[in-house]
């Protein structure tokens, strides 16, 4: 998936690095120092429907359906996350205990058109 450039109108991944110091949370989140808060944005015209950038076969299936049926489907295709990974956090909880946990699906790695 392309990373969004300012003028990219099509579906892409917009990257933001969040430093926990900027949130004022470095006193209780011990590790890591920050994380990638990425999100998906951009347009999904019909010819891109089902093209998650990594599973072309799904894209070709949708494409042939589009051709077989009317070329302008009623539904719209949206730019959504297609690959995400967990974030491992080490933090102090309300009782001052040190907790290590993996938060699932925290970081968007790829975007695609539904």
């Amino acid at each position: 998936t392309p990373t969004c450039e300012p003028e990219t109108p099509l579906c892409c991944r917009r990257d933001h690095y969040v430093d926990f110091r900027e949130l004022g949370w470095r006193d209780w989140i011990l590790q890591p120092e920050g994380y990638q808060l990425n999100y998906c944005s951009g347009q999904c015209p019909p010819h891109l429907a089902g093209s998650p950038g990594i599973a072309a076969s799904f894209h070709s299936a949708v494409f042939s359906l589009l051709k077989a049926n009317n070329p302008w489907p009623l539904g719209t295709s949206c730019c959504v996350p297609t690959a995400r990974r967990p974030l491992s956090l080490l933090y102090l909880d309300h009782d001052g205990n040190v907790v290590k946990t993996d938060v699932p699906d925290m970081v968007v790695e790829a975007c695609g058109c539904s």
Binding site: D27, L37, G42, V98, V99, T101
Partner: protein, 216 residues
């Protein structure tokens, strides 16, 4: 709003960079709190000493793997009541009720001082608050050790799990060779400062399906 530029997703006006950054930071706070099942960020009034934290984190490093979405917890002994003898210490730990209810692996890390000859026997009891004095404690485990320094005492997690109170009180009694506990010249277990004991726990994942999986 950016001058004249259009949001590529919805066609509306885009946000000015500062406004977008402020929105991203707010989103990050929500996402982290939701991911940790917290309603608000913890207010840390007594953070553990950095040296104690560093040593404990070394225990959590590679090799120790919590289950998917599970947790590993290090809880430092916060209150050590004035003990009756050099050979007995009472340690108090504060856990959240979820941690106390779903723990499945527990080790008590403590540092034995180099002041005893031969083999030292340590017995760990759990105090059951609220009962009559006679039944006030349950023996959890007994460990023998021949060297001073840090030791990890594996405790039965079933003996530590609790439904009601999230305050866990343990008593560590030591006995010297020949069983004479009173002969101990001075303290045998370090229970204060940066060398204070801590519990290393592994907790089952939270969330609706966790309990069912474990019962099955």
């Amino acid at each position: 709003q950016g001058a004249g530029s259009v949001c590529p997703s919805c066609g509306g006006p885009t946000l000015a960079p500062q406004a977008e950054r402020a929105l991203v930071l707010e989103l990050a706070k929500q996402q982290i709190l939701e991911g940790l099942h917290l309603t608000s960020r913890p207010r840390i009034t007594h953070p553990p000493p950095q040296a104690a934290l560093t040593r404990a984190l070394r225990r959590l490093q590679p090799g120790s793997v919590a289950p998917v979405n599970g947790e590993e917890v290090i809880s430092f002994a916060t209150i050590t009541e004035p003990s009756t003898s050099a050979c007995s210490s009472v340690l108090t730990f504060h856990l959240s009720t979820a941690q106390s209810r779903h723990l499945y692996h527990a080790r008590l890390w403590l540092r034995v001082l180099p002041t005893f000859p031969g083999t030292l026997s340590l017995r760990t009891f759990r105090w059951n608050p609220g009962r009559r004095r006679r039944e006030s404690r349950t023996l959890l485990a007994e460990h023998q050790m021949t060297t001073p320094g840090w030791h990890a005492l594996t405790l039965p997690s079933s003996g530590l799990r609790g439904e009601a109170s999230a305050v866990l009180k343990l008593q560590v009694d030591c006995r010297l060779p020949g069983g004479n506990a009173t002969a101990a010249p001075q303290r045998l277990v370090d229970t204060a400062g940066d060398e204070r004991p801590f519990l290393e726990l592994k907790i089952w994942p939270k969330g609706p399906g966790a309990g069912r999986t474990r019962r099955r």
